[in-house]
Amino acid sequence: MTEHIIRFQVNGTARELTVASHLRLIDVLRDELGLTGTKEGCSVGVCGACSVLVDGQLVSACLLPAAFVDGTNVTTIEGLAPDEEHLTPLQDAFIRHGGFQCGICTPGQIIAATALLEEHPRPTAEQVRRWMTGNLCRCTGYYKIVESILAAAESTATAVRREHVGVR
């Protein structure tokens, strides 16, 4: 086993960690940094529950050696909202449109959709469905998820106050 120093930004905060070579990004996020919003579902890159952004690119944290994120900028679900009082329009839309049920896939869904809207700010429903193929929901299906993303794409706001959607 070897150990590796990684210096990277996590949700805008500089971090320096020493990690064992065999740890994956998801291990470090959840167990070292306590960022448990990112879930481990299938562990084989299929379900999308561990979706995170590395330098803005959507990747599976379960398939990425932690040593590889040295020098990068990592964004997890915890880093999307600008502050405690606000949500992103996408997070707000998921709440308003009921884009989730049990919630375990939701961080991955919202991270994946964030990457989609970054690349295609006004996607078609077909583009949304195709892009989101990699994020599985086993509760409630995909209609509300697609609806939430399309609604967020309509929004011109950069942030939405939490109380407007009844979240405390």
């Binding site: 065999h22 994956r24 599976s60 990699g134």
Partner: protein, 292 residues
């Protein structure tokens, strides 16, 4: 996951030295990680040494050659290849092949070199690369060699790669004007799945409407991505009538040996190999006709 020693060389020479030094049995190479991390996490491979390629500048890049060909560094990701203007200018069907691989999340991470050396015969890029007469460059401390893409594959998850050797680049020769290519992926389940059967083809017709160049390769129908020379031979010199195409497509039956699995029974895949071969050839014939 079993702990291992990770090396992150910053030059090709350094990587080849590491591979040479650590021998074959317990050393693996990692590029994007989508196959290797999965295999290690499941305990299917348990290397002592892992050489990561990501910091090696020589392995990056997608560049058009002066002669109209294309050089793809082994670390080009599927997503980079999907979006690359160079790849699209070379052959739109090649961009579309990469666009059909897995999900955007996997395409962001998975590299072409990793795809090829993983050698799963149901993967998308290999048949298309074979149909476009691609070759691969293999390098070791002992030197460099080039192989036609189809010769890289030996069997399921097995390649010609020798201990100490790295696949460093893929080369595509210039496409003769008028050559049309297509990749058809038969996916009865979801978009992100491996193909049940896939067909890549490249065709060129002469001024009289006779076929002067044909390449056909199939995915998911054998232990390797399979070049269908019998079909190519049955097309060259011929007028591509529906009957001629249908007859040529039946010849895949003699060369495929698909596995029974969750994506279909062997008998079904055998049938689909013929059906999708016929569809690919007809679509290329029709595109060429429209052009004339």
């Amino acid at each position: 996951m079993r702990p291992y020693a990770l090396y992150q060389p910053e030059s090709l020479a350094e990587a080849l030295d590491l591979l040479d030094e650590h021998g074959e049995e317990d050393t693996h190479v990692i590029a994007g990680g989508t196959s290797m991390v999965l295999l290690m996490n499941m305990g299917l491979v348990q290397p002592e040494h892992v050489v990561a390629l990501r910091k090696i500048p020589e392995l990056h890049g997608i560049t058009s050659a002066d002669d109209g060909g294309l050089r793809i560094g082994a670390l080009a990701t599927h997503r980079q290849l999907e979006l690359s203007p160079e790849v699209r200018a070379y052959a739109p069907a090649l961009s579309e092949t990469f666009e059909q691989v897995a999900t955007v999340r996997i395409r962001n991470q998975a590299t072409l070199g990793g795809n090829l050396v993983h050698a799963d015969p149901a993967q998308d890029p290999p048949p298309m690369l074979i149909a476009l007469d691609a070759s691969v460059t293999l390098q070791s401390r002992r030197g460099e060699r080039s192989l036609p893409a189809e010769e890289l594959f030996v069997d399921y998850l097995t390649t010609q790669l020798q201990p100490g050797e790295l696949l460093t680049a893929v080369h595509l020769p210039p496409l003769a004007p008028g050559t049309r290519a297509t990749y058809l992926k038969f996916l009865p389940r979801t978009h992100d799945d491996y193909a049940t059967v896939s067909v890549a083809a490249a065709l060129r017709l002469d001024g009289d409407g006779r076929c002067e160049h044909a390449r056909l390769a199939l995915g998911g129908v054998a232990g390797v991505p399979l070049r269908a020379r019998v079909v190519e031979d049955a097309l060259v010199g011929e007028r591509l009538t529906d009957a001629r195409i249908a007859e040529a497509a039946t010849l895949v039956d003699g060369i495929v040996d698909p596995p029974d699995d969750a994506r279909g029974s062997a008998a079904y895949k055998r049938r689909m190999a013929r059906v999708w071969t016929e569809r690919a050839l007809r679509s290329l014939r029709d595109q060429s006709d429209e052009r004339q």
